[in-house]
């Protein structure tokens, strides 16, 4: 596949939207510049022959350990909700989503 290394500003805006990070108008130019430099740096990898090389997700090639499906934790809802920005009646509050 062909990777386009010069990333455009509108593409950064799209990525920022996917990442749910607002970037102000005055910063977008510099952010685009920095990200472009980083992507140019990592572009070296495209030249490496990796045919038949299995991707490595875990450095020890370990697989997830499973446990028996038993309840081992106590209910600590109050402690967890005590540190939330906004709760009411045991629910987390967010701005209205549907009218």
């Amino acid at each position: 596949m062909v990777v386009n290394m010069s990333i455009e500003q509108d593409e950064i805006e799209k990525i920022a939207e996917l990442a749910r990070i607002h970037i102000s108008g005055e910063q977008i130019g510099q952010v685009t510049q920095r990200i472009t430099e980083i992507l140019q740096m990592v572009d070296q990898l495209q030249a490496v022959d990796t045919r038949d090389i299995e991707p490595m997700a875990n450095p020890l090639d370990a697989t997830q350990r499973l446990r028996t499906d038993e309840v081992t934790e106590s209910d600590r809802r109050e402690a967890f909700q005590a540190i939330a920005p906004a709760v009411e009646d045991g629910l987390y509050l967010v701005p209205k989503v549907i009218d």
Binding site: M1, V3, I7, I12, I15, A16, E17, L18, A19, R20, I21, H22, I23, S24, V31, R34, I35, E37, I38, L39, M41, V42, D43, Q44, L45, Q46, V48, T50, I53, E54, P55, M56, A57, N58, P59, L60, A62, Q64, R65, R67, R76, A79, F80, A82, I83, A84, P85, A86, Y92, V94, P95, K96, V97
Partner: protein
């Protein structure tokens, strides 16, 4: 008292030369009097530290002390501490008081240690200079115009300035070893999975690992004995049995084979730093070790590989910060989308945002194979280089960093220049290996670190080699002029 090793403090407490309250008080007073110069702590809770010390003294008097009973330890502010703020160096978690302890913290409590305070760090452990902290940069105790390294810069500076006898750190690409080198202390990144990651704020989950930072290899061994071991609540924690890391410290180095990767001694290495490393290697040779020329042919690919894998995993891990369940939330959000995007704009610093964006890009539709999968494939080649070397040698040695500590501000506007600082340390995390940095001299009064890399789960051998080296040298016993008195 402040310049005693952990091993000596353990002995002194048992022999009633002093109490834990006295030891803890001594370090708390030093922090209060001196840390304004270094900014190495984010939070110190004197009342609870002294209460824990008092309880430890009771245990010591009752004769039922555990291995670290009464020893004050500083913890990187990435480990959740029940009832004590855990900021991770970020505005996002400036108000976060965890309702539970990280497994690592639980283990230190189980073994009697006192929490001295929480140390400064690069935001979410992303950085190599400690200039990315919401709480301001940490200064290097050897020279306050220099960076202490990062991301565990607060832990390294606190130990170097004798504000704590030992500390914990985390290392995703060099974040224990590089600040240990810059601050002239001893730091160990264990094998991936050796120490539980539960309750340690996640950066890059396939790379992150916690480890000890102290003056000597012996002290690191003592701390690792407490830290290491299976945690059923961390599915990536290892089932490999844990040994007593002090048991083999004094073993002879006769017959030890040490590989010197020629890629670690090339053009990028500062000449004077290289000379310190060569002198250190001669010392190991004098103790019976054999130096062997080896090669890690994919070394030049470690930076690009790391800067895809780490940001990709970070972008996933940091998606949890949404302003809903804990942490920062923007004022007066107009809708849910505004809540997310503005909370994250305000809560994260520039470097964290950059890495989230790079990671999001590398994982996005159409680019996954070209970036993330490709990096995972090259990661296997990088690991295989090490496995091939370990067919010929027992450990690998070289510099921890390309040169000594640099000036504050020198690289903070240039992310790529900053990334190059970790050129010798990143591969160890990609391969999941244990690595150490050991004080090995000075260049213009700036400390230099010797890096030792071992086979998976061979921490005891790294500690053995470092300990033998420290029996013959006194670099690790030297302290910055400002910290002596």
């Amino acid at each position: 008292m402040h310049n005693k090793s952990v091993a000596h403090l353990v002995q002194g407490l048992r022999e009633k030369q002093f109490s834990s309250v006295e030891v803890t008080r001594c370090f708390l007073d030093r922090i209060a009097a001196r840390d304004s110069q270094y900014n190495s702590f984010i939070s110190v809770d004197e009342t609870s530290a002294l209460a824990a010390a008092k309880a430890a003294d009771k245990q010591l008097a009752g004769g039922d002390a555990a291995t670290l009973t009464g020893i004050p330890i500083a913890h990187k502010d990435i480990f959740c501490t029940d009832g004590m703020r855990t900021s991770c160096g970020s505005r996002m978690l400036d108000n976060f008081v965890p309702p539970y302890d990280a497994t690592l913290i639980q283990r230190f409590k189980r073994d009697g240690a006192v929490i001295l305070g929480k140390t400064n760090m690069d935001e979410f452990a992303m950085g190599s200079s400690n200039e990315n902290s919401f709480y301001g940069p940490v200064k290097n105790p050897w020279n306050t115009d220099l960076v202490p390294g990062g991301s565990s810069g607060g832990s390294a500076a606190a130990v170097a300035a004798l504000l704590a006898p030992a500390a914990t750190g985390t290392d995703t690409g060099g974040s224990i070893r590089q600040p240990a080198a810059f601050c002239g202390i001893t730091g160990l990144k264990p094998t991936y999975g050796r120490v539980s990651r539960l309750g340690m704020v996640a950066f890059a989950s396939s790379l992150d690992q916690a480890g000890p930072m102290a003056h000597s290899a012996e002290d690191c061994a003592l701390l690792l004995n407490t830290m290491a071991g299976l945690d059923p609540l961390d599915s990536t924690s290892s089932e490999m049995p844990v040994e007593d890391y002090r048991a083999r410290l004094d073993n002879s180095l006769e017959g030890l084979r040490i590989g010197l990767p020629r890629e670690y001694f090339g053009d990028g290495l500062d000449k004077a730093t290289g000379e310190c490393i060569n002198v250190a290697l001669k010392e190991l040779e004098a103790q019976g070790a054999t130096l062997v020329d080896v090669s890690l042919p994919h070394s030049q690919l470690t930076i690009p590989t790391y800067y895809i894998i780490a940001p990709a995993e970070a972008s996933t891990n940091l998606s949890r910060f949404d302003g809903v369940r804990y942490g920062h939330r923007c004022d007066n959000p107009t809708d849910l989308h505004d809540l997310y995007t503005r909370t994250r704009e305000e809560g994260f610093g520039d470097e964290v945002k950059r890495r989230i964006l790079v990671g999001t890009y590398a994982l996005s539709a159409g680019y996954y194979d070209a970036y993330y999968k490709k990096a995972q494939q090259v990661r296997r080649l990088i690991k295989q280089d090490f496995m091939d070397c370990f067919e010929q040698v027992d450990i690998i040695a070289g510099p921890t960093t390309p040169g000594p500590a640099f000036a504050l501000g020198a690289k903070s506007d240039d992310p790529i220049a900053m990334y190059l600082e970790d050129v010798y340390t990143l591969a160890v995390n990609l391969a999941g290996l244990p690595g150490m940095s050991v004080p090995a001299g000075f260049v213009d009064n700036k400390p230099v670190g010797l890096q030792l890399i071992g086979r998976h789960f061979d921490e005891a051998r790294l500690l053995n080699v470092s300990h033998r080296y420290q029996q013959a040298t006194d670099w690790h016993l030297q302290h910055p002029a400002g910290g002596q008195s």
